[in-house]
Amino acid sequence: MSESSSPLEPSAASAGGPACCPIAPAEIDASCRLPLVVIFLCAAVWLVLGSAFELVASLKFHAPGFLADAAWLTYGRVRPAATNCLLYGFCMPAGLGVALWLLARLGRTRLAGPGLAAIGAGCWNLGVAAGVGGILAGGSTGFENLEMPSYAARLVFLGYLMIVVWAVLTFHHRRERRLFVSQWFLFVALFWFPWIGSTADLLLLTFRVRGIAQAVIAWWYTDNLLVVWLGLVGLGAVFYFVPKLTGRELQSRYLALLTFWMLILFGSWGGIPASAPVPAWLPVSSAVATGLGVVGVVAVALNVYGTLDGQCSKLMSHPSLQFIGFGVVAFVIGGLMSAAGALSEVSHVTQFTWFTVARGLVNSYGFFVMVMFGAIYYIVPQLVGLEFPSAKLVRAHFWTAAAGSLLVVVPLAAGGIVQGFKLQDANIPFSDVAHSTLPFLRASTTGDLLIALGHLMFLGNLAGLVVRYYRARAVSAWAAATAEIKPAEVSP
């Protein structure tokens, strides 16, 4: 269906500039439609499932015996299942989908191989399903953020390659040769994950390295995935949507370049916690790199603020912009939290506490997931040419998600700080320390509930739109097929 009758196929006209036969955005969107609908819909399902698991895990702090007799629902299995659903079920596929669309649009070219990219998405989802099922069945690998058993991890990796190869080809066949800022971020992200993923697979799952080197590699992988990869894709989306939806130009290409270099050079050196049982130069290098990351964070804040020309109220104008604005603020806050954690006085208190969980959530949920929501709420109507069934639900989702994130992050951060200070004092018995965190954990359950509700709204709206589109197509196809065939006029 992507075959157009234009004499200039993208592959044959790589030397052609944008002036000859430009492809309309609607055509580009049409070429992206199938894989992106598959990706986004499946990602929304994983999101709902992930928040359900997270709720179960959160409720266990209200009553430790809650669902305790089912081995597959024990906290140590259901919590990793929730984070894997969020990370590999939603974050990465949504990021890939947004990257595919952005690379096609910014390159002014159709997406290459959409059908095969959709198959890749299917392979990915199969892998995630096998992975989450494996974790719940007791096959967790034991490595944080890499708990999926090796068979699932390899399926996921294969799915990634199957999707990314078309993204790279789309980039290669771009008609607009000048690169926009987002394209650097997205193009680099495409290659980032295969390297870190294959390293993690080879050195942790296939030929396991010995001793604590496993943990070092796992920390490196986690940081490169959660900070660098999510940061690259998320910022690529931010730097596109903020100027696009406000109708202005991105303030500074050079600030974006600074952010880019800071992220890829120093972001990849974070990750080793200060407490780690490894030689001192490893956590010290991480602390220095994380401290330097504050420059990139400030650069993003300046760039976005400058693009809005100081008028932050513009962020409320478009529902997608609300999400993306929230994401930018969360990115800055998360970056500052991480940089503060680089100081040893702070990390001594916050290590091993819920504060580190809160900081991770600010980055992955508050920044990345919210930016993805904003992007998806813009992209999918473009793809199908229809608006969402309920625009009110989109706005409601924003307020639910924003309130939910705050209600999760703030109690966890506060509880973590209290926990940290109490852990420093050896006179306080550990059970008292654990008890003092319970009110905060129970408060965060309300946030989890709101977030789950928001996810249901998202899935409902998205599924409704997709169903509406395909039903309209089916109806019109059926009508075309059963239309009366008018005999042609025959002139004697």
Binding site: P64, F66, A71, T74, Y75, G76, R77, R79, P80, G138, S140, T141, G142, E144, E147, L179, W184, F187, V188, F191, W192, W195, T199, V209, R210, G211, I212, Q214, A215, V216, I217, W220, N224, W261, I264, S268, G271, I272, P273, A276, P277, V278, P279, H348, F352, T353, V357, Q419, L423, Q424, D425, A426, N427, I428, P429, F430, S431, A434, H435, T437
Partner: protein, 328 residues
Amino acid sequence: MNYGPLVFLAAFFALATSWCGFVLTPQLQIGRLPQAHTVGGAASTYPVARPGLAQQGMEVYRANGCAACHSQQVGQTGTVLEIALTEAGTNQPATIAALLTLAEGSTDHAPALSLLAPVPSAPSNSTNATILAGLPRAFLRSSTREAANAAIKTLDATSAKAQLWIVPVGPDLARGWGERRSVAEDYLFDRTVMPGSQRVGPDLANLGARLPDANWHLRHLYAPRLEVKGSVMPPYRFLFEKRKIKDRQSPEALALPGDLAPGDGYEIVPTQAAQALVAYLTDLHADAPLFNAPMTRPATAEATTSTNAPAAPGTASTNAAPTHAAAP
């Protein structure tokens, strides 16, 4: 100009540097470690591989995600040098006088010595009474090695026998979670290293040293609040089975109080997974003195019966002084 390849090269370079720094170099430095030798005292190799049942237990630990709540890495914020007396010697008043003089900083070196606890005063007319009791015990703390060595020489001259003790300190250690920080050698033979990143539950690095009783662990897994009041740990009843007593009660059956006990004629027996997990938990140790984590083990280690509670009142329990009040 086609910037595509340049962007790719930038990414390649950036990731290559961090790969070299955090994957290649750690593998070269700590990924190929042989067993280490302990320092101080008789040299032995460390670590020793876990027994088979404990290795199976590690798989149970991994499968149930115990690392989601428990860390296995103990930290240390400093090390102190302490001067301890191992023998009171024949001239105790002279020893006491020497201790007091040293503590007043009358040595040539900077006043680096401080008393750890009040020194009993010597009665004027007894030279043979046992005034210095509870040995081996640390009396002075020094901040430099030279001052410590000089102090030991002075004390040795008074016919007592003095020793230099290297004592790691830190909040984790003060809680009794370990005797020194965890280092790479502690994880050498673990098939899956799970250092953990959260302390929803206490740290387990040295669990085998502070809770060696397998039955305690079995009861704790079945009903955590039985052993630790107010625990937030979920009960792991699925690791046990309730079965009918055949002829007589099996020796592994758990002894549970009234409301938790199974009905008449039934017993709660740990499954193979529970036995393996407990074997693993009681095998967790991180207490050998190594070159990169030096410490002095007191002459005889006192078996502790405390659980997660801090040190008993009466012994030093601040972050500064470690709990080395071991009886001889």
